[in-house]
């Protein structure tokens, strides 16, 4: 083999080795870098909004906190069932024949829908009692942890023809709207 041929082969080998190196290492790395660069641009665009996202989260968290505070401050619980028996038990007075002569609970009608998510069942409480007892039932109804709407109140002296001094017996009728939210209607008070 002549000197010139050896040199040509050396050059050819060097070029082949260089091409092989480029093909097997540099080209894949370059392609990977190009792909990642495109991904980086997309991610940088998203990350640039991180401050805005933090601000948005702060605002929404405050709004949620205020909404919860308002709900806890303003709203009473609305149970999933009417539980008329429990309500009667809570409002029941001891009939002594003295202060309380009679107390009658009557479910007046079937429940109806209100505000799209609630059911309302009218319940009448009739009392023959003194004012303090009637007041006690009214206060109990309005002091319950669950929502009961007092939608009617009628009171009159039992004997209007002959009013007397001192505590007089009254006939009172309270109409209570028992508000509840059946589970099928979804969570009533999130």
């Amino acid at each position: 083999m002549s000197m010139a041929t050896g040199e040509r082969l050396t050059i050819l080998g060097t070029l082949c080795a260089a091409a092989l190196l480029m093909w097997l290492s540099a080209w894949p790395d370059w392609q990977a870098a190009e792909t990642r660069q495109a991904q980086l641009l997309e991610l940088e665009r998203k990350v640039s909004g991180i401050a805005q996202a933090e601000e948005s989260l702060t605002i929404e968290t405050r709004r949620l906190s205020e909404a919860r505070e308002q709900r806890d401050r303003e709203c009473r619980r609305i149970p999933p069932a009417a539980d008329v028996a429990g309500l009667m038990q809570a409002l029941s007075l001891e009939v002594t024949g003295d202060d309380v002569r009679d107390q009658t609970f009557t479910v007046m009608d079937r429940s109806s829908e209100e505000a799209g998510r609630f059911r309302v069942l009218p319940l009448r409480v009739e009392l023959a009692a003194d004012f303090s007892s009637v007041w006690s039932v009214l206060e109990r109804a309005e002091g319950l942890s669950r929502l009961v709407r007092v939608s009617g109140l009628e009171m009159s002296l039992a004997d209007q023809e002959h009013p007397t001094d001192g505590a007089q017996p009254l006939r009172a009728s309270l109409t209570l709207d028992v508000v509840y939210a059946p589970p099928a209607d979804g969570d009533s008070m999130p």
Partner: protein, 220 residues
């Protein structure tokens, strides 16, 4: 004098010199090619590593950003749900306890005035035909007796002075005898707008001794 060029270098020496030059050129060329390819490969490798590291860092930040966005969306939805539920609650619930209204009526009674009957009824706008739909109010009436016409007027005036009571109307006033004494029977109608908001006195402030439970002596 002749100007002929005379080459005194032997052909073998010249050939060796030329071969040495070619060899140096070849080695130089190969070195340059090797350096260029190694440099390009190193550069590509370093760039790939760098972009890989940047990608990991930015992916973590982007995940955080997406997480923040999803949390903000979840908070916003929860807040909207609660606000809607509270708005629906307000449509159903009374804005003030009826007991506080009753206390307000009782406190409007001057001394010597007694109630004989009281009525309050919830109306969601269906009872009054010309009323706008969904306008909620309480329709109320009281009947009782007072010592004089002035006391009857005082009842109506005091009720009118309370922010909760609207459209307070003295419906009737008639003379009557209560336990052997002259008195004025009265009937007052009123409404309470349940779509307004106003402050009402706490029901604990009511004094039972001023109610119709203890009918006071007329004219005392």
């Amino acid at each position: 004098m002749s100007m002929h060029h005379i080459d005194l270098m032997p052909a073998t020496i010249r050939a060796r010199a030329e071969a040495g030059q070619r060899l140096r050129r070849t080695i130089g060329f190969c070195l340059v090619v090797a350096l260029l390819s190694a440099g390009a490969t190193t550069w590509a490798s370093l760039r790939a590593e760098q972009t890989g590291r940047d990608l990991v860092r930015l992916e973590a930040m982007a995940r955080q950003s997406l997480e923040l966005e999803s949390q903000a969306i979840a908070c916003s939805k929860a807040a909207r749900d609660i606000e809607a539920a509270v708005a629906d609650y307000r449509k159903v619930a009374m804005p003030m306890p009826v007991s506080s209204l009753l206390a307000g009526i009782v406190e409007s009674l001057p001394g010597g005035t007694s109630l004989e009957s009281l009525s309050m009824e919830y109306d969601d706008g269906r009872r009054m035909a010309n009323d706008e739909a969904g306008h909620r109010r309480l329709l109320g009436s009281i009947e009782g007796y007072a010592a004089t016409d002035e006391d009857v007027a005082t009842v109506a005036r005091r009720m009118t002075g309370q922010p909760a009571f609207e459209d307070v109307r003295l419906e009737a006033s008639r003379s009557r005898i209560v336990r052997g004494r002259a008195a004025r029977g009265f009937s007052i109608l009123f409404t309470i707008d349940l779509d307004r908001t106003f402050m009402v006195r706490r029901p604990e402030d009511i004094r039972h001794d001023k109610t119709m439970a203890l009918a006071e002596e007329i004219g005392q």
